[in-house]
Symmetry: none
Subunit: 221 residues, 4 copies
DNA sequence: AATGAATGAGTTTTCATTCAT
DNA sequence: AATGAATGAAAACTCATTCAT
């Protein structure tokens, strides 16, 4: 009657003890997947824990509660998100430089990035303080910094002044449209819409951003 | 603490009996508010019922289940949403016409419309069939129809061919950006961003859409 | 009305932590009582939980759902039920052996056994697979095994061939009648009916089962 | 916009007004089907109403509540059930008479009768008064009356005294077994068990009931 | 740090029953 | 008599969180 305790070879869950940082990161990785796939409410602590290879109770050793996991996660992810809005250096022919820039931006639009955007839109309201800080300390400064560069080019006569140079962050707008398409439309339509948008985006930028000297300095894009 | 048992005047909950259509609409109205404010999961049947001034059980008299309410709601709201993407007739001076068009579009961006967009993005995945139908029977046809009009103008030499006339639905893109700003940013920043976007949008359209005769026919916008 | 907030002595519900096996068994015990008393539908999870001295939610830690509890319960109870249909060894005088056998059978007809029979009849349809396995792997084999023994006795000339030796499981039939009486009739009538049935049963068996040698081998009953 | 009220040909539910008795019987017929198929709890008022071709609310015009329907139903059905226990007249050759009797009894074991037995066992406890009356005024009197007839035959020397003539209702016992088999076993096994039981039953009765004169009076079976 | 067991507070859903017409 | 609309009460079930070890 007595059941042999794990007789023979059985998959006994070993109690693994990891350093705080490692475990935290595992939890956050798991949480990112679950949250982006299902949203905050539908993502369950149980699923996150099992994906992280630990127990529900252990999540509470490392985080105050579900909201804290979400917040930490979004905080982490919103930091490098800045990069997505920054202009990296580019080549020398202006047309090529712009094309390369556009390519890079649309290439960065990975499924993961799309998921995070969705999460931000759908659940951002849960972490208003975080959003505000992100907005005030990341998004707006990045806009300003970029705008300052553009302004200096215009002042230096490198670029012609135009509505677009006056509000340079506007240049990102079509990319957001593409992201939203990926979120709401079927994959085929989304893909088609993205291609069309990218092409129009490219052509319009080429038309709107005219460098006086015909060449943009490396720093621009 | 002791509640008088209906002493004197009787505030007894009278049972209100309404026609199916009226009650259904009340429920849908309540549901729209709750769903847009909280999302599908966080919105509760109890809250929707009380907002609709009826009982939980009565919701189930009028709808199969929570999903059915959501679906009905989105279906209803996605029908006239077509209008938001259609170009209504406009005046005669091209600059004025375009300005009026832009004004109208940004004016239509009511809080309710913003909420619905959020719902669509955040919860659209719940009703894939609905989304597909909306996409195939509303969004894409509207795009096509609009594009056909523009194409005819270009063919007739009324408008100059340009990247924007080649992909005319691109003209809506900044509006989506403004909507997303309203969803994720703080009201002040969102408002500022909208103003900037609108102005840039206006100027760029003015610049990009050049009518040969300097006048757009009434039918265009 | 005002409840003293745990004044003086503290009857705070201590959280009792038991091993899975113990708790599972407690739940099954409670469930058996509730199910047999009320039937599947009328038995409530809340009642079972409180009878088991735990919370509703904890039932769901140990069982998938209500059906799983029911199925586990019936599975457990249908295993030893085999015994009820098997013939245990007996003494040497044939009359005495048969009397002892009858006594034992009617003595085994405990209220609990009656409840389980009722459950089986009333709710067996919920677990068709289980019933089928019980029938195929327990009831029919037991019949066959018993029949084989009887057949060998007949072949060996120990017992005279008769309709009863041809279909020996028929011998249990009056016991089932007694059980059903206990389920549907009032206790007094049921008891009287059982007595009458038992006596008739005894006499008829004595009359029908005649051993050639006047003695049944120990193994028969 | 105004929806034409049942434009063209539509299946408008006509409000049918029937005499109380007719409607009552329709409800009872529907209820019998639902109750026997599902049991008391699982049978729903809504289903009964729709099967009866009327509305839920109308059931409450004709019956106090669900229990009343059940009780009325069982009362009706328990009346003629008496017949099942009565011995109808038979032919003259004793073997043939007994065979005919057995045939009739097993033939009467219709699916409907089986369902009602199940209902009686599973839900009889809901109507103890009814069961008691049925037991005291139908079952027991029928037993007694039958027994009296048998006793007179024994006294008259028509039948030999035996355990079976002493407790003649015992003769029905195997039939109950067959019914229970039909309830709990799979159809094939149930059928096989019934056949075996019937045959053994027949042979044993033939063996046990010996008429002195070799002929049973018409009144016996 | 880790976890299996436990639970309170909630959720959606069902259903017998009642009300207003 | 009949019924569509309405509802209170309860059901099963879920889940973030906590306790005991």
């Amino acid at each position: 009657m007595a059941v042999a305790k794990n007789a023979g070879a059985a998959p006994v869950k070993k109690r693994v003890r990891l350093s705080t940082e490692v475990r935290r990161q595992q939890i956050l990785d798991a949480a990112l997947i679950e949250f982006t796939a299902l949203g905050f409410n539908a993502a369950s602590i149980a699923k996150i824990a099992s994906r992280a290879g630990t127990s529900k109770a252990n999540l509470y050793v490392h985080f105050e509660n579900k909201d804290a996991i979400f917040e930490t996660l979004l905080k982490d992810v919103l930091q490098p998100a800045l990069g997505a809005w920054q202009l990296p250096p580019a080549g020398h022919g202006i047309e090529k430089a712009l094309d390369a820039y556009i390519d890079r931006r649309y290439h960065d639009m990975t499924p993961q990035m799309v998921s995070i955007m969705k999460l931000l839109i759908a659940e951002g309201h849960r972490v208003p303080a975080l959003i505000q800080r992100w907005q005030d300390e990341t998004v707006l400064p990045a806009h300003r910094q970029q705008q300052a560069v553009i302004d200096s080019y215009v002042a230096d006569g490198v670029l012609e002044k135009s509505p677009l140079t006056d509000n340079f962050s506007f240049i990102m707008v079509p990319i957001l449209y593409a992201v939203i398409c990926k979120i709401i439309f079927t994959p085929e339509v989304a893909e088609a819409e993205c291609q069309k948008t990218k092409e129009t985006h490219r052509q319009l930028i080429q038309q709107l951003l005219k460098a006086r000297a015909g060449v943009l300095p490396e720093k621009l894009l």
